[in-house]
Subunit: 255 residues, 2 copies
């Protein structure tokens, strides 16, 4: 099985102080895995241009096929992700006129609904329309800040907002359609075995023989071991299951 | 304000596939922040010796005062964190006799309770007693696998289990007492302002003037902006609040 690699970077001081649990990276990881990518690393950094720049540069140097970055696109003083990414890939920030127009409409709409006092496009709001030069804007159906897509040294880089509702909508409509077909499948099983350590040699043998990835984790002492099998297709997963069952382990599908 | 830096590494394929949300890193980050550390980066890698080794080596090269690693200490084929850390710091794994004794007792106890069929110390269970040479074992009151503490190139490295109950107990009893005194305080406020972008210039000015860190994030359009102020002590926070209120912003404590 050839793994097609992806990485995720989430940005936000609130993640580093533990004030917010980073459910975004798990969501993105799950959707990427379902699409057949193997997420190799998740990195979280704060709202700091240099930290973002470093993390992005390091991720690119590891040459994943896809790099998804989420967070730090808003109008506040600490929303600096676009600049951090631009620095990492040696580009300037450039005004996206269409984005500016959409941001303007967004605030006018909020104003009409009575949600904000002032619809003026001040500097902080304008800032959101600046994307790394050469990138394609990604439409934000749920908020003000556009995302961006840019390819650099063979890495498809997507920059998404951090608000979960905005991130999820953009991931579904703008990111996943650009990523192509499923490369592997994953399936979860419960192994009826009271002792994880007895399963280890059987799994090692199976991984070697079928060239699959298997993750196992305890689901309570004396009950089950949770197993996730990653393989090229369902046929291979069927073979793996029959092989392990032949070693005396019973399986139930799902957790 | 001088920031004392920390980093966190969480290990587990289940985090990279999105099958589990990484609440451990948020928990550790929160406790470190409360103790006065600034968590600069959180990295998640899979159950892969080389990936763990790379992530640990990179974290050490950034010279945090503290590095906390969680996950991958169990008996299964893919629990390889101790080896990954040992490789990163150029040590061998070495049997900890006391740990082996405790692991033996742990399984005998489970056996007595009827939770497992076989209390024998097989290879997979013995594996958990191997720690990087020169490290100090950390007691696991909630499970079989011991943690480890080792100082390397000025970085205090703690290796903890991934099961939240085990990790939390070890963090409280074995890690935090070794970390010394509080270096800064954080306090949360809600700013009554309908538009985040108007707050930005005021916050920038405040950060510059008082040498504090301030994180802001929207809490719903037209209602509040959530603010976290990080400062040396409560006195400085009081001054910051009075200064910002002088600019016409109203505050409420807490979220």
């Amino acid at each position: 099985m050839v793994l097609v690699l992806a990485e995720i970077i989430t940005v936000g001081d609130e993640l580093l102080t533990g004030n917010t649990v980073d459910s975004n990276s798990a969501y993105i990881a799950q959707r990427l895995t379902e699409k057949g990518f193997w997420v190799r690393r998740i990195t979280t950094v704060g709202d700091d241009v240099k930290e973002i720049e470093n993390a992005v540069r390091e991720a690119i140097s590891r040459k994943p096929e896809v790099l998804i970055i989420s967070g730090g696109l808003g109008p506040t003083h600490d929303d600096v992700t676009m600049l951090g990414v631009a620095n990492a890939i040696g580009r300037k920030l450039k005004l996206c006129e269409d984005c500016l127009e959409r941001i303007k409409e967004f605030y006018e709409e909020l104003h009409r609904k009575g949600l904000i006092d002032d619809p003026t496009l001040n500097e902080a709001r304008k800032k959101m329309a600046y994307l790394p030069e050469g990138s394609e804007p990604l439409n934000n159906t749920e908020g003000a800040a556009p995302g961006a897509y840019v390819e650099y040294e063979g890495v498809k880089i997507f920059i998404l907002p951090g608000m979960p509702r905005e991130m999820k909508a953009m991931l579904e409509s703008e990111v996943l359609p650009r990523l192509g077909e499923r490369k592997f499948v994953q399936k979860k099983f419960l192994a009826e075995i009271t002792d994880e350590s007895k399963l280890a040699p059987i799994l090692e043998d199976t991984i070697e023989r079928f060239k699959v990835k298997i993750h196992s984790s305890p689901k309570g002492f004396g009950k089950y071991i949770g197993i996730i099998i990653f393989a090229e297709d369902d046929e291979v997963i069927g073979k793996v299951i029959r092989y392990i069952e032949g070693k005396g382990i019973k399986f139930r599908e799902g957790w």
